[in-house]
Amino acid sequence: MDLMKTKILLDEEEIPRRWYNIMADLPSPLDPPLHPQTGKPVVPDDLSAIFPMDLIRQEMSPERFIDIPEDVRDVLRLWRPSPLYRANRLEKFLKTPARIYYKYEGVSPPGSHKPNTAVAQAYYNMKEGKERIATETGAGQWGSALAFATQIFDLECTVYMVRSSYAQKPYRKSMMQVWGAECIPSPSTKTRSGRAVLEKDPETTGSLGIAISEAVEDAASHPNTNYSLGSVLNHVCIHQSITGLESREQMAQVDDYPDIVIGCVGGGSNFAGISFPFAGDKLTGKHPDVEIIGAEPASCPTLTRGLYTYDFGDVAGLTPLLKMFTLGHDFVPPSIHAGGLRYHGDSPIVSRLVHDGVIRAVSYHQSEVFDAGQIFARTEGIIIAPETSHAVRAAIDEAIKCRQTGEAKSILFNCSGHGHFDMSAYDAFYAGQLVDYEYPEQLIRDSLSRLPKIGQ
């Protein structure tokens, strides 16, 4: 094992040629998405109003591997393969015997893992002859990634950006503009769903669930427009698998394999990307002991406190009902700085794996997350996004456990994006103004006990 190596790199030609689809390795099929009106399992035609057929096929595919179109690989060359770093300085700072690796996705043009699927989705929409894509964005990572991808394939793009993030991160909006997209704060008066929310609460901070409703409505009501989702769905997890596939190759270069794989979880896409190839190894018995950890905010603890049940993916109830961990589709998470993790639900596959005990989840308060981000910046040099800091927090905690037990475990985490547009959040951290939000689970359950159940 080369202990001194800092960057473990792959050649451009080593960009994977196939995505990995973990659905092929699940012990039993996923519970199907249900039609929001009929309650029956959705069929491809139900989705064709807003998604291209290639993506619908991927969404339902039982195939273990799916070819990456050459046109998509060609765009991915702009930043892929992304580097895998050995966090030598962080290890030294923590005085841990653990070997810590991080896959750095902040090298992409928009600065995160999001273009891994944005490029693929824009490509398939272009191929089907669509002219415009509508989407939502939380922290702005997804919106800027799709803006970047759509302009490559000459598509128009409309982004509904969660209002609290729109105010917190104005430069994300500027990036979308540079790449030719229109960015609208959500809830907006442009859609029926947005107007309904504003009528109830004109001062709302918005949420991903609300923004999804607006984007879906926009796509469904314009024939030339499709909808695109940056997380949660199976095809997104498939596209993101490229990070885990590359990481596995890169770790093999230094003759290592992770004992622990970590990612932050909002809708689950970057987490799925880093972890699914390893979760597949676990499910198929190749590496049954690999531990996989999803780190989420204590204020929006979907996997740690949510219910595993059918729920809508959006506030207005326009999306199919998905079997997932959920805090309730009408839950508006508090306005934390890790805006990309403010989602009431989670990827059905991630949820299923947590439910089955293949993956475990942890949750953190804002201040401990920023503390980890600061440690990372002061050791490894990269100022990371607040979302990513959740993964770093979990990695640091695991490395400290190794220090206590003396175990030299190998820890891999997805360093999903830089935090260059999150400096106001860091300012708040240094001013002692970060609020440690929590989810009052018992009281919420009490408050819901007399409400009708959905999807059951």
Binding site: S299, P334, Q433, V435, D436, Y437, E438, Y439, L443, S447
Partner: protein
């Protein structure tokens, strides 16, 4: 500092346990309702922890000082004021005059806002004063957060007790008083009485209460009360005791009930069960009800959750309710201005059982984690 004036208001806090929201001018009524003097216990809790700190105390006779010093085993004190069997505010002022003439460098007193105001009348800003909290209302910032915290502040002033005696900043701080008559009629009117000098250690000495009136406050209160009204409706088997304040008031309002502003009222299934409850009433309800939850709001900036104006909820009541059944609420703005919360129920073990952090409901289905001041009592 070595030469310290020490004064106890023996009747401070008596009105609180019997629901009188103050003792000024109501001593006879408080006694009639069964209240007993309790401030001496809180004074003793402080003094017994600093008995060997090398201070030389100057005090009053009997329950206004000397009795406590004897109980705490403090040797070598001077009595400069002979207190009558039943003391009044004029005795406090006269004693302080005696302290000044005896050359004290600071006065440690035990009482409430009324006692602080009497001290201030005489001392003004000449020397620092520090309060051991024992009144019904303590909105002035001359008070330590608890008797134990008062002992810690005193210890840090003493070369004999402080591990390394600190230079404690002496700050100018507000003495306020509440209009008791208006208070009893459900209106909170505080007024600035003057600026005293007081030693300040963050987390140990309280800040002045602030009343927030921003528009956002109303929105936030609405969100909190909407959530908790849903909780109340969703748990018809639970009795809810709502503490004083406008935020708790808006929960009752969401349930279609009018709540007293400053009292503890009980409701079940959004039906009013009792208003302006005193300790005895609450214990009676606890005998009858299977499960009871207490909803209290914090005092803005100062950070008190229990122990300031909430003496009806005695340690006996709180233990029966159970720490896990206490729901703390506060608007985000109030929480932003309140770095640390504290509990001063009169039972140090109970105060400690709240842990280092508590969860405070701050919006619709949202809570914030807030640190709790280390329990020193």
């Amino acid at each position: 500092m070595k030469r310290i004036g020490f004064l106890v208001n023996p009747v401070a806090g008596m009105g609180g346990t019997v629901g009188l929201k103050g003792t000024d001018g109501l001593y006879d009524e408080a006694v009639k309702r069964g209240a007993n003097p309790g401030s001496w216990r809180r004074a003793l809790a402080t003094m017994s922890r600093i008995h060997d700190c090398g201070f030389h105390f100057v005090t009053c006779s009997g329950p206004m000082g000397e009795d406590i010093l004897v109980k705490a085993g403090i040797p070598g004190y001077d009595v400069v004021y002979r207190a009558p069997a039943r003391s009044f505010s004029s005795d406090t002022r006269a004693a302080c005059q005696g302290f000044l003439e005896a050359g004290v460098e600071m006065i440690l007193f035990c009482g409430g806002d009324g006692t602080a105001r009497d001290l201030f009348d005489v001392v003004l800003g000449k020397i620092p004063i520090l309060g051991i909290p024992a009144g019904v209302k303590m909105y002035s910032s001359v008070f330590a957060v608890s008797p134990g915290a008062a002992a810690d502040v005193m210890k840090s002033l003493s070369p004999a007790c402080g591990v390394s005696p600190k230079r404690i900043p002496i700050r100018e701080t507000e003495v306020v008083d509440v209009d008791e008559e208006a208070y009893r009629h459900g209106e909170l009117k505080t007024r600035l009485y003057g600026f005293a000098k007081s030693p300040y250690l963050p987390g140990l000495v309280q800040s002045t209460k602030q009343v927030f009136e921003e528009r956002d406050e109303e929105r936030a209160k609405e969100a909190i009360s909407r959530f908790l009204a849903e909780v109340v409706r969703g748990t018809p088997e639970i009795l809810y005791i709502l503490g004083p304040g406008t935020t708790t008031g808006s929960i009752a309002q969401q349930c279609g009930i009018k709540k007293t502003l400053l009292g503890f009222d009980a409701m079940k299934e959004c039906r009013l069960v009792g208003t302006d409850l005193n300790e005895k009433d609450m214990l009676g309800l606890l005998d009858r009800e299977e499960k009871v939850r207490l909803v209290v709001s914090i005092i803005g900036a100062q950070g008190s959750v229990l122990g300031r104006g909430t003496q009806q909820v005695s340690p006996a009541v709180l233990k029966r309710i159970g720490v896990d059944n206490i729901i703390i609420i506060a608007t985000p703005h109030k929480l932003q201005e309140t770095p640390v919360l504290f509990f001063d129920t009169g039972d140090p073990d109970l105060d400690g059982s709240f842990g280092d952090f508590v969860s405070v409901i701050s919006g619709y289905r949202v809570a914030q984690r807030k640190p709790v001041a280390r329990n020193r009592t």
